[in-house]
């Protein structure tokens, strides 16, 4: 069983389309983790046919993903897929990523929007923000990735049991990369398409990630 985990916070406008897109590609086990949304996210996702787990309080995307991971383990999934709830990802990218992880017997496959030219990454993001993110990720984890901040992942059951996300907010991404390094997980990057509706987290979001990472190192 492949469990598609979709973290969503106030994605009432997008989540229906995202869930339907996944079902259209033949995926059966779609779990939306509604992270304390104040809009119709949970109902819309349920109506679209997804299993919905509801966080009573907003705890951040990292927290939502960990809830999804634990659910996938509990349900006996052999693979979990992290798939953003805002409609930026293309559900067609899942099957090739799964083939890769199965054929090469990998632990984790990470999406990258920079391996081909399918994603129209805004100029500022491609040449300034992502390279900075890449370096920060490298400094904190020692792992060099072409696209260090991409929410698309395919994770094997073995890796799921090892990766425990404790970063509730956006720094979970660096935490996952660090876990790959610590546990010596076998990984590869795979090309995924990202469609841009808006900029994403912006500079403030990036600074928040760095402060989360530093706080985490201090409070551990």
């Amino acid at each position: 069983m492949v469990c598609i985990i979709v973290p969503a916070y106030n994605e009432g406008e997008n989540i229906g389309r995202v869930v339907r897109g996944l079902f259209e590609q033949g995926w059966r086990d779609v779990v939306v983790v509604d992270d304390g949304s104040t809009d119709s996210t949970a109902t819309t996702a349920r109506e679209a046919g997804a299993t919905v787990l509801v966080h009573a309080l907003n705890r951040g995307q990292g927290a939502a993903l960990q809830t999804g991971n634990e659910y996938a383990l509990q349900e006996g999934a052999s693979y979990a897929v992290h798939f953003d709830g805002d409609g930026q990802f293309n559900p067609r990218d899942i099957a090739p990523a799964l083939r890769l992880i199965e054929q090469e017997n990998l632990d984790i496959v990470l999406g990258s929007r920079l391996l081909d030219n399918r994603s129209r990454v805004p100029w500022l993001k491609r040449y300034v923000i992502l390279p900075i993110g890449r370096w920060i990720n490298f400094v904190f984890t020692g792992l060099w990735l072409s696209d260090a901040h991409n929410g698309f992942r395919v994770i094997s059951r073995r890796a799921l049991a090892k990766i425990v996300i404790t970063e509730d907010h956006m720094a979970h991404n660096t935490e996952i990369t660090a876990a790959i390094k610590t546990h010596g997980l076998r990984f590869k990057e795979v090309s995924v398409e990202v469609t841009y509706h808006e900029m994403g987290q912006g500079i403030a979001g990036g600074l928040k990630i760095i402060s989360d990472l530093v706080m985490h190192k201090l409070t551990r």
Partner: protein
Amino acid sequence: MLLIQAVLVIFFLYAIIKVVGRFQARELALGWVILWVSFWIAAGVIVLLPNSTFYMARLVGIGRGADLVVYVALVIIFFSLFRLLLQVEKLKKEITILTRAAALEDKNKKV
């Protein structure tokens, strides 16, 4: 007695009454009560006898008693802030764990 001394001492007494009140309401452990009461009494002594700090200050090599009070206060404040910050972070993680457990539990009930 200067007005500022009177005002501060009255405030310290009020603080001690509050601390004892919390203790009687069983909201504060005895250890904390002793700590806070001695803290406010010490503050009272310093306010009423400002020169008393002079000896302590000279002992540790600081010129003025008032400076010593400020230094010590700053250290205590920053350390308390640090502790509080750690506790808030810990609380946040615990809230997340509870939220997650509830989310998974709800799912199990429905199935």
